[in-house]
Symmetry: C2
Amino acid sequence: MSGERIIYLPLGGAGEIGMNAYVYGYGKPGEERLILVDLGVTFPDMDGTPGVDLILPDISWLKERRNRLDAIFITHAHEDHVGAIGHCWEELGAPVYARAFTAHIARLKMEDAGLSPEIVRTVSPWPETVEVGPFKIGFVPISHSIPESSGLVIDTPKGRVVHSGDFKIDETPVVGEPFDRALWEEVGKPGVKALICDSTNVFSGHAGRSEATVGPEIETLVREATGMVVATTFASNVARVKTLAEAAVRAGRSVCLLGRAMRRMIEASIKTGVLADFPTVVSPEEATQIPRENLMLIVTGSQGERRAASAQLARGKYQGLTMAEGDLFLFSSKTIPGNERGVIQIMNAFSEQGVDVVDDSSGKYHVSGHANRPDLETMHALVNPQLLVPMHGEHRHLREHVKVAGAAGRKGVLAVNGMMMDLSGNEPTVVEYVETGRTYLDGSVKIGALDGIVRDRIRMALNGHVIVTVILDEEDELLGEPWCEIMGLPEMGRNNAPLVDALEEDLSQFIGRAGDKTITDDDKLEEGLRRIARQTTQNEIGKKPEVTVVISRLA
Amino acid sequence: MSGERIIYLPLGGAGEIGMNAYVYGYGKPGEERLILVDLGVTFPDMDGTPGVDLILPDISWLKERRNRLDAIFITHAHEDHVGAIGHCWEELGAPVYARAFTAHIARLKMEDAGLSPEIVRTVSPWPETVEVGPFKIGFVPISHSIPESSGLVIDTPKGRVVHSGDFKIDETPVVGEPFDRALWEEVGKPGVKALICDSTNVFSGHAGRSEATVGPEIETLVREATGMVVATTFASNVARVKTLAEAAVRAGRSVCLLGRAMRRMIEASIKTGVLADFPTVVSPEEATQIPRENLMLIVTGSQGERRAASAQLARGKYQGLTMAEGDLFLFSSKTIPGNERGVIQIMNAFSEQGVDVVDDSSGKYHVSGHANRPDLETMHALVNPQLLVPMHGEHRHLREHVKVAGAAGRKGVLAVNGMMMDLSGNEPTVVEYVETGRTYLDGSVKIGALDGIVRDRIRMALNGHVIVTVILDEEDELLGEPWCEIMGLPEMGRNNAPLVDALEEDLSQFIGRAGDKTITDDDKLEEGLRRIARQTTQNEIGKKPEVTVVISRLA
């Protein structure tokens, strides 16, 4: 046992909120047996990743050591924890463990990717454990905003490490297991070397609120509504969906679920037994026959996603259903930073339809799924680790979380993606910096974030694109004139003359002036043509475009 | 006078927050003399307007009637009210009126655009008035977040209309005129036909807070800081800049202003006399010689703008100054929806430098410049108009503002951009719908929002760009092979073969199969080549790209 060590290496999720992927290892340096906790995605945006479908963690390091990887554990079924499993599993090839609800979702993702659902194994909660390599791992139920979320107890020959998973302290979570103080105290009892802990809400100074507090507020709102009520929340927040549905039923309304994710999550909850008593729902076709004051829709698209049900209702119609003057739309959700524009667009579209929109600004219709600062402190006290390692946060969250630990006299350490820490000693040490990054799923292909492909797209979006074609004959003489096409650029330049004409004239002159050394050398010719195309465009319209030069030589 | 009417026509600002441009008219239908109130911009973003420099209101309607336009009035110097004056003035050609501070900024914009600063005339506040055409216009001082903001009293032969301008009710605004209830009551006394009123903060239910409340909080923060303090706010919020600077001085710190806009605004304030006692500042060069615990920087970039001082400090260095562990960065500002990502990026960069970041989440270091709901109600009561017409808001704000009026038994009407209202009768009526929209300043050229140019850029950003070149000889025979270039697309397709190879092969085959009818017809050939290029790319990498086809025929 001497010379062996416990290592922790975040490949994603430490320095960002998204694409969680945490490696733990145990063994001799460089020979550690490894496990991976979570394998999630991040969502692209137009600012930095236009056209990208999904952002995955770069798991190259782990892939190169797949022979040392014993298992993958998924703490819960949020996309930022399980979303990459179908896209990345083949590169790793280890068995996947999760509790029933999470396993159900993970299997659907495996099937979507053409993989066997049997790769995913269902486990029972702690004190049952899974033994893989030198590890004994237990799934400890913890309250969050999705059923069967779990923290992990990771026992090694050199002691216990606890991975909190995403959590809040909620003793009345509506669906799923209440937060169990006694259980978490027990987890801490034998002594815990390190608690790797959710940091999302570290800047919220007040104690978090229970999921159960939302119900009465929503009930009042729905009861007082006179038209149709439409509510959106994260489909995976099954407790909230249930609360919304029950509020509808109590107000004498039929419930209709809209959006694939919404139905998929409720089905998964019922099949896996986490949801026993969900109200009967009507189909969209049936819903069209019900008077609107007797109807409530629960729909996807709380983040303003363009293709989701809420955005489609805002644009007009979804599955035969439309909004009308006097209806009410409820965002029972928080807008994730970066999604504001999309959400506001929907709010205004509803406003134009005469629909009243209620959001969470009052604080009544939504509660967070993450532990606020006082709740983090409670968790630290329950588990009482020798070391706190913040995870699941941007740099500022991790840094603040270390400060919170320090303020209570606890040792904390800031470990970001790629920092491999040795957790076995009395002092945490960085043993290695591993290259990490992002992989883009782009259409059906994976590309590296630094490949330059997305950078080129952004440049075309900012600067437009000029395509220059020249044809040279066997004697290196220009055949015809240089030919320009433009995309994403104004057609008319200064003096209201076509930009393309100005470009073709200047390029012709350039070729006329160019010596043999330039004309016969593709690289030099291309460079010259690009320079002229950029200059002329700058002169004509004040922009320096991206330029593609196509030189054809007739041989 | 019978047969004459007062009209109101928003060309920008009613249905959005930004690019304010409100037309008022008086006269016989179709022959009204016109004035324009404000001429502002909106800022572009990557989501909808990549590469665009500024968004201007489409003023075509007014341009076509410029012979009826008597004057342009600017209520205050915020970019969304004055920012388009340099870009659009030549199309309108009317004299511009503003109070001294606003006029100073407007003149700088005229000069930037190569226009005469003398076009802008300085006016004194109400009860002095400007007479243009049938109008008598008075600038009524009103508190906001920039010096010398004004509402307008617009007197016509058929009565008085009041345009609130942007405002809050602040009796201790630190810089500039306190809100004067008696003055506004006087404005309302003769009877007001309509109040056209700021709607920005209609969803804020509590009374607004005075600018003066921020000072003591900032002072405490700065006094307790141990390293350098850097604070950002809108440069135009001169009161806030003064508060920040005074807090520095009281804490024994030298003040250094960073960023062109920051220095420009303070200079304008001093020159025009709105700011009499601003602390002495040091230059950036001097600042580098001052111990950091004795220094405070006040910098531009509160919205995370990439080129502003705050972003540059976050990336490393600005004018020889750098941040260090233990420094404090204060956002004395609110993040405008849509700017969250940029601001958060800066916060995390500072976190990595060991800098503590304080923002407005505590509510202590920033107050809004707009009237909250109770303050709007106060304003309604003071002016007591026959009709309330909300402006300066998205659709949801305007709609809510009408509701607020209704709840107090007042008549309100929702008029969005392009709705021409007759305000002279007892009931407001829509007399015409005018086509409005957005004009993009793109490099040095103005383009229409619907021209398709920016749409093409967005498509290239989302889908990538394939360029197909084919050369046909005099007999319509293909010379060589079709040639493909790609930009913004993965190089490798399925089976790890180059995408370009797959494209060129499929395109060759298509041409080989194509009949004379296709080969000899540029349109048909182009269409066929585009279709194949899209299909093959879809097969290979799962994306349908934008395609440009260049067909060269050797004649």
